[in-house]
Symmetry: C2
Subunit: 461 residues, 2 copies
């Protein structure tokens, strides 16, 4: 029996190794997407200018009046079930205080000023007016300015980076560089236009953002992302391996047959896959699947019927609030599900969270933001198979304790062959730049220093 | 090789037969639920009266004014993507005409009268005031009146049966009986109270409805259901085999290891499982799974976060409309997904569909209606395992062409040992009583005649 076990383990290991080596036999370069694909109305094609226009966030009197009216006239809600916190979703007892704060205490004028503290622009790329923040640092001679693209996800926005931007754009002792940050709103999110036709998934957004960076004069640049931003970053790093200087991701994941196989094998032999003190971030698998079932209904719905649920979320500010803030509760700390207030102000202020809601509400973009799930899961975009190709772009992962997924370096390296390392945090959640801006900015500095050293070493060799 | 294939098939058949015989070895009776479990506030326990009080549907001036105001002030919607019908969900171009009809042409007074054309009552059962329609037929001597409980599902209501009720409650030539129909609103749906604590799933609703029938003087009775109504009916027929005289279901399903195994085996050898002209209702399996993925996001969300999405749907009538009517489009004809108008008025009038919306809107019950998904999929309720037990209650299935699921008699008989037969329709969808009331009522008569014959034969033996 002992021999049989050894044989089984051996065969398993050889099987996984073979499977995982297969992608190496694939053609090296992933599919090339059309760099000029037009996402605006067809009659605007060739007629839009490529200038960069200053932009300011504006909460109009009309929007504010209508919003307050809706908040004050919100419909009576059924009480939560006895003894329930956030286990059935957003606790309806908490709607009243949030609606009151939003309509009576949230200072729209001050917050508008806050939003405009950074220079913002719009420029038309492939038919869509893309909104972005651009902050250049003031540096002494000897300090290099390096361009960094910061990408948000759903249900976040550029607002997630407001606390981190000042930390990234001023020189830090010990580093001979500082960042020029470019922070775009994803197409269909906030102040960026939405596509008018199907097909605009994360890979196509990657093309748009590369065009944006090129237009701003950056042929080569660093990228950072979380949530959709992390997916887009990963695909940019795969499609544009010569242009992306390095990728920092706070949700780095691999989704291939090999990663799945390794994950399953690790359920039986965890020590083959993951360091013992991190095993509980992956295993037991049943706990992970139960978590997926419990927490990913929104994804299932948004990937299939975004326009249906979008009607209600566009029309009801309390509806939008509950739908979005539920994610800021559970994705920050899973255990906040049991709290009546969802632990929302554990790390965020009410103003911070409502700022982010205002991006969706004022731009009326919740429906178009949710369509990204449908596009990414369409047969056509899945068939591109970009995730199957590996990338040599130097990569760093920031792994917060409460992130939605965890994969260890030995799985990640299958795709990210130059994963220089990971920062494993014993704190923090999904919206890490928003939640812990100092930790986030420090990690980005650390990673980019390593990326720069990596390139220098390569040049020297 | 030929011998090996025969051997494989033989082993498969023996395997399935063994697996499917296993439940016969289980204890015969399913778990007994507490017939007096209290679902109302604890301080009302023992203090409510058991009388039956007349009830009338009332659309108050206040509700109508508020509703019209919301419909007229609905927020501007983003247009659908180019070339898209209902594939991303409810087409936003269709919201405007529906909202206009609801607020300007729907005659609230007339519709209220329509709702009250049948006698309605409320009575408190286990702490909840349960609303029901009760219509007794006028019959000649020699015609027997038999009690029939009709049960709706989500996102339907008692309104689904309004066209069928008159057909069921008058004598039909060729039959020596007519029905007294009792049509309750499910707890948490429409005009029935919602539970105040977790745990009230379909089996517990079955207990409440049995108590309701007993209170109305019916110790033994027939049952009919679709959607949740079909699930409740199946569980009632399993738990109360001596009291249920017969079950007519328009969504009869079995969910056991055996049924799954047979379904999978049928993917390879369809002729073992299903008649060839019906095979395309089950196979190919990938098409079925893709359909599940595409159409069951709502279920995933409602089973996990009903309270979150409930906030928006309670607050926005256009949101409620799109969320509910999407189902009346796709569940009536799957291919209506490609139509800009969703084919909604293909078989239903606008008034019919808005009537059903009014049941949810006026009672503000969308959130509590969706909680049923969470309750039924809770670990506690799944552990009851009622579906695993078979029932000897005589059963008949009406199988509409466009029903969400199809299972052939040889799978159904595993649970419903006295399945007397099925009616296979080449027309119709999920809301069959609402869509084709005459076909529905005729089939119920036909089935109950067979149930009565079945009992007579049994008595004679």
């Amino acid at each position: 029996m002992g021999k049989l076990l050894v044989l089984t383990v051996l065969i398993t290991i050889i099987g996984i190794a073979t499977w995982c080596a297969l992608p190496m036999l694939l053609p090296e370069s992933p599919p090339q997407l059309d760099a000029n694909e037009w996402w605006g109305p067809m009659d605007t094609k060739g007629k839009v200018d490529a200038s960069i226009k200053p932009f300011q966030v504006k909460f109009t009197e009309e929007i504010i009046k209508d919003l307050k009216n809706r908040l004050q006239n919100k419909r009576q809600l059924v009480p939560p079930l006895e003894g329930i916190g956030f286990e059935y979703g957003f606790n309806s007892k908490e709607i009243e205080p949030w609606a009151k704060y939003w309509s009576e205490e949230y200072k729209f004028g001050d917050r508008e000023k806050f939003f405009n503290k950074f220079p913002q622009y719009k420029t038309n790329i492939q038919g869509l007016n893309i909104h972005f923040i651009r902050v250049k640092p003031q540096v002494q001679p000897g300090v290099t300015v390096v361009p960094l693209l910061l990408m948000h996800g759903w249900p976040g926005s550029v607002r997630e980076f407001y606390e981190a931007i000042p930390l990234l754009t001023k020189p830090v002792s010990g580093y001979d560089f500082a960042f020029e940050v470019i922070v775009p709103s994803l197409p269909g999110y906030g102040f960026s236009d939405a596509t008018v036709r199907p097909g605009l998934g994360s890979a196509q957004i990657g093309v748009i953002f590369k065009n944006l960076m090129n237009r701003l004069g950056h042929k080569k640049f660093y990228i950072q992302g979380g949530d959709w931003g992390a997916i887009i970053a990963s695909q940019m790093a795969t499609m544009f391996q010569n242009d992306i200087l390095g990728m920092h991701s706070n949700m780095l994941i691999v989704q291939t047959g090999c990663s799945t196989l390794k994950t399953i094998a690790g359920a039986f032999f965890p020590s083959l896959i993951v360091e013992s003190h991190l095993a509980d971030r992956m295993y037991p698998l049943w706990k992970y699947f139960s978590y997926l079932m419990e927490e990913f209904g929104y994804m299932h719905l948004q990937a299939t019927k975004p326009d249906t649920v979008g009607v209600a979320l566009s029309d009801s500010p309390t509806g939008l609030l509950s739908y979005i803030l539920e994610k800021f509760s559970t994705w920050t700390r899973f255990e906040h599900r049991t709290l009546v207030n969802g632990g929302l102000t554990f790390r965020f202020s009410k103003d911070q969270l409502i700022d982010n809601l205002m991006v969706y509400w004022a731009s009326n973009s919740i429906t178009t933001s949710m369509r990204l799930y449908a596009e990414n899961m369409s047969n056509k975009n899945r068939a591109l198979g970009i995730d199957k190709f590996s990338t040599s772009v130097p990569t760093w992962a920031l792994q917060a304790k409460n992130e939605l997924f965890y994969q260890p370096p030995n799985i990640l390296r299958h795709k990210y062959s130059n994963l220089l390392g990971v920062t494993v945090l014993d704190d923090g959640g999904h919206f890490i730049a928003f939640e812990m801006p100092k930790v986030f900015a420090d990690d980005v500095f650390k990673a980019v220093k390593l990326f720069r050293d990596f390139h220098k070493t390569k040049t020297e060799l």
